[in-house]
Structure formats: C-alpha cells, structure tokens
Symmetry: C2
Subunit: 336 residues, 2 copies
C-alpha cells in the first residue's frame, strides 16, 4: 500500500541519513470505518486562488485555508480523531487557544466530558468559546501552578480521563493527515505549513508518504521561535528555554513533540524562519488581496514565501493557513 | 422548461396582482455553450456553517460568501457574462467599487479594452485594483462633471464601445443568476440578499423561477437607502433624491434598475430595512464567530436577520455575503 521510497529518496538528496533510519508511520487512519466518520465530521479545506495575490507575488500560489474548519482552525481534525478513537468518558487538554476549542467541540459532538486547562489571563473570547461548547474552562494562575503540574493534578483526580496533547499523539497526527490527503490530489510542487508543536506538518508528511506524493513539504516557523529549524540543522531535538513571545501565538511551544520530531526530521529539508514583520505583511496581504482573515500563526506560510522568495520560483506552491482565530484588537492593529 | 407558476403562486399570497402582470424573464443563460464557459470562469460560492454563529443566533443559518469570487465580489459573475456575450472590443463602466474591478478583470481575461469611470477621490486601493487588471481608470472630479455626463462623453468618443451597467442589463442579471443556480440545490426556506441597484437579487429570483425552486427571496437594504423597500410598498419605482451615505457603500444607488424593478416587484414580498448599527454588528459577528471578512454591504443580509429575527424563526436560512472588499482603516474601526 505504502510507497514511501519514492518520497524519501527525493527527500534524502543531500542528507546524510540512510533509509533504514526512516521511521515515518502510515498512521492508524486506514481503519476505513473510522476514517469515513472522521471525514464526515470535518469540513474540507477551502482552496482560494486570488489573481491579485498571484500577480503581486509573481508566483503560482494557492491558499489552503483552515479558517473555516469547525472552530476556526485545523485543530478540529485532530481533536475529533482523538475523541472518536478512544472510549474515555472525559478528555482533558491544555490550551489557551485553538486546540482547546476544537477538543471542546469534538467532545460536545461525541457526548463526552471535556476540561480545558487555560491560563486565567487568556483572552476572554477564547474562554467563552470553550465554555460555549459545554466544556469546563479550568483557569489557573500560571505563577502559582504550571499548566503541566495542573494537568498532573487533574489526571490524578480523574484517572480514567484521556490526556489529550495538541500535537504529540499519533491520533492527532492521523487526524491532521486528512488535510494532507486533500492536498495530495493537486500535484503542488511545494506545500508550506506553519510549525509549532509539529502536529500539522507531521500529519501532512505522513499523508504524502502514504499517498506516494512527491510534493515537497516546507516548514514555516517564526524566527523568534525557531526550535524546529535549529533541531533540523542540529539533527537532534532542541527546545526553547522560554516560551517565545512571537505574534504567532500558536507556535509558542517549547519544542516539537517526541512523535512529531522523527517524522519532521526525515520528511522535510527546509524550515523557513520568518520575521515578525513578514508575518504581519503576510496577514495584511491576505486581508487586502484575498479577503481572507488569517490569524498571525496562519499567515506564517505566506510569510515564509516573502522571507525566502527564491526557493519558490517557478513552483506551484500551496500555502496552508492553519487558522483564523485572532482577537479583534490585535487584528485591527495589524491591518492598518 | 420554466415553471414559474409554482413560485409565483406562493409569492402572490397577499398581494393584489394578477399573474398576467408577471414579467419574470428566464434570461438568456440557457445558451448552453455560453453557460458552460461562464461556469468555467466563475468560482463557486463558498458555503460556510459556523456552529458559533448558529448557536449565537439560535437559527439554522448558512453563509454563502462571494468574498472569494474573482475580484472579491459577486460582480464578476455579471461582468464576465457581459463581456463574454458581446463582441465589442471595448467596455466602459461607471464604478468606484466592485463592478469596476470585475469588469476590468473580465476584460483582461477575454482580451478586451476596458475603461472604468471613477470619482477622483475614490480609495486609491480601488483605483489601483482596476489598473492592476490593465484597465484605464478614468478619474473625474464629480463637482465638475457627473459620472453619467462623463459616460455620455466617452460613449460619443468611442461609439462602438459597450456601455456596461452594473445592474440594469439582462446580461448582468443572467450572470448573477448563476449564484441562484448554485443555491437552488440546497432547499433553503429563505435566502437573504443585499439590495443596491437590484442586480444580484433579480438574478437570484430569475434563477429560482427558472429552477422551480420554492425558496423565498428576502431583500436586505440599508434603512438609510431604502428606495427599494419604499418602491415595493408603493408598487412603483421610487428613487432616492441624493446618494445615501450609508456605510454599505455598495448600495449607494439612486434607485433600482428598470430591468431589475419588475423582477423584484413580482419576485419578492419582503425587503428588510437594516440600521447602520446592525450592519456593523453583523460584520463583527462574521469576524468573531465565522472568521469571515465581509464588506459592510456584504453584511446586510445578516444585518436583516438581526433587524427582524422573528420572520426567520424555524427556517433554514441562507445569508448571501455579496463581497469582501473594504478599506483596512474602515474595517479596523468597525471590528473593535
């Protein structure tokens, strides 16, 4: 079924790594019943071609926008797959952002309990979104207890609950791989994907591998939060010392996940480090030339094109917009 | 082929008008070759269902967004159909907004010359958009010469040019009717459509009539620019005395077009008059709950739902977002 050789032969060009080291998983998505139920629940990505943006960049670029996915980001693909494939009655996640909303909504749809641990100073619109889906927002003072200490406490109190990681979970990667399956049909030369914990990009790599697709996957990471780019260069998983304060708040992770790292290490050659200015410029271009509301993290992939235009020359490029959830005040400031 | 009887019987309930007065046209779109070429050129509308918006309104609402149509509004459907069906070498239009861009791009695609008459104080982003598609932006000082005087001048100078109206043209109505054909498949109880010159709503009525669809069409017009609502009540075409200064700049027309009026008069019962506040609230709801960037005019249909919630109770409603082109400064001010 799987022909990763083609893909990996291409990826291995210029890399000192033997094929036997490859550990790219097919994932568990090939349970056809579950796959059908997952595909029925998610909304296909929205492909947008803007003549103005194409002219402006002088580049054949297609936008794959997950901003209209349920709960406004790709995270719903992952969250729904997690809840669908485990029979726990309760799910506990840690998130001040998109994964929390996605997990809460997936639990609502599948009739499970859900608790999302969030810093007490999270944007109220995000806390409200989690609650609007019937989940408990467990607000913590991060100066008193860290998110992961609180997760341990809750896990001890609810020993049967599923502790859901936003990225470091094979079910998360499998769920995200459905986006790869959609993009695999279009024969893009390159697909550019935002990188935080690595959940989305590892899912897309896994899918392209499964589908025998030659499309190159390119990561887009804020220069201020370049742990994945540094890891790829060093050949080992490197973590940030502190949570990076990039405007792309979806990438404020300390490091890639342990399951995501080997897929990323073997599945791609390039992670473009994007300046904060280019994140803002990309977000403005989406607003002005494509009528697309993107969150800063979602604009990373177009930011990578601005940052390193020459590597995309004469290529049929797809930029993945991972989500659209952003506070009005921040957005208003960024577009003017 | 056409069974308007079903539709008109329903529409006639409570109206003192005999069926013999009906003049709804099938349009010329049934030239199958032209239709195929038109459908190939346009981008299907983007249907969005937001759980957050549905919960917030307590209403089964689907968004049909034309914001990702080529040039960012439904106007491209009309403009392309006009240029496709006339062999003039040059097209002249009057528009400071969406029709100008759409006509310019249609002419670019079909290799025709294009001139768009625009007030010299039009937003520079709109002038640039017209020029970016290779058209001439004919900038006039409206204190010296009116748009239509200038149109007459240009028409005299270019006797073979096609003078393209943004709404009062059967080819425009036919082009816009393609959106109706898309929506006809979904068995909505009601479709709510912004009304300016009446080009879009008359196209949708024409399509539903052609398709024998029972979906009710409801107009959404700014209360500040309520000439269509007044006309419908009076049973005769009434014009505004001055260009109304509503935030919904796409509806700053003096009156419905002569071709649009009879279709509107016979094809719908209700035009909701929307306050400026509800236009802004609707635009904010799209931003916050659906990740959708709408222009103020595009938000009119959701504004109508807010304005007159009870007439939509227990209905499967579709709100048409006619376009997404809005200046960043205006938009930023509206969302915060």
């Amino acid at each position: 079924m799987l022909d990763c050789k083609l893909l990996t032969d291409k990826l291995l060009i210029g890399k000192q790594i033997s094929r036997s080291q490859l550990t790219i998983s097919q994932g568990t998505i090939y349970n056809e019943d579950m796959k059908a139920e997952l595909l029925n629940a998610i909304r296909p990505t929205t492909l947008i071609r803007s003549a103005k943006l194409i002219d402006h960049l002088g580049l054949d670029v297609t936008i794959a926008s997950e901003t209209f996915q349920h709960t406004g980001s790709f995270k719903f693909r992952a969250a729904y797959n997690v809840v669908l494939n485990d029979d726990a009655e309760e799910f506990i996640g840690v998130s001040s952002g998109n994964f929390g909303q996605a997990l809460a909504y997936a639990c609502k749809l599948l009739n499970r309990k859900c608790t999302v641990i969030m810093p007490a100073n999270s944007a109220s619109v995000k806390v409200e979104a989690v609650r609007s889906f019937g989940a408990t927002a467990d607000l913590i003072d991060v100066n008193v207890v860290s998110r992961y200490e609180r997760l341990k406490q809750l896990a001890a109190e609810h020993p049967n609950a599923y502790l859901a990681s936003a990225y470091d979970d094979q079910l998360v990667i499998d769920g995200n791989s459905t986006l790869g399956d959609e993009l695999a049909k279009y024969n893009f030369d390159a697909v550019v994907v935002p990188v935080g914990g690595g959940g989305l990009i590892s899912g897309i790599i896994q899918s392209f591998c499964r589908n025998g697709v030659m499309t190159e996957v390119i990561g887009a990471e804020p220069a201020m939060a370049n742990d994945a780019a540094r890891s790829l260069k060093a050949g080992e998983l490197i973590a940030n010392e502190n949570e990076p304060q990039t405007i792309a708040d979806g990438t404020r992770t300390l490091s890639l996940g342990k399951l995501n790292w080997p897929i990323i290490q073997n599945g791609l050659r390039t992670i473009v480090e994007v300046s904060e200015d280019n994140i803002t410029t990309a977000l403005k271009l989406y607003f002005g030339l494509a009528n697309l509301k993107s969150e800063p993290t979602g604009a990373l992939s177009l930011g990578a094109v601005l940052e390193n235009r020459e590597i995309f020359d004469n290529k049929k490029v797809c930029v993945v917009v991972s989500g659209g959830n952003v506070d009005a005040a921040i957005y208003a400031q960024m577009i003017i």
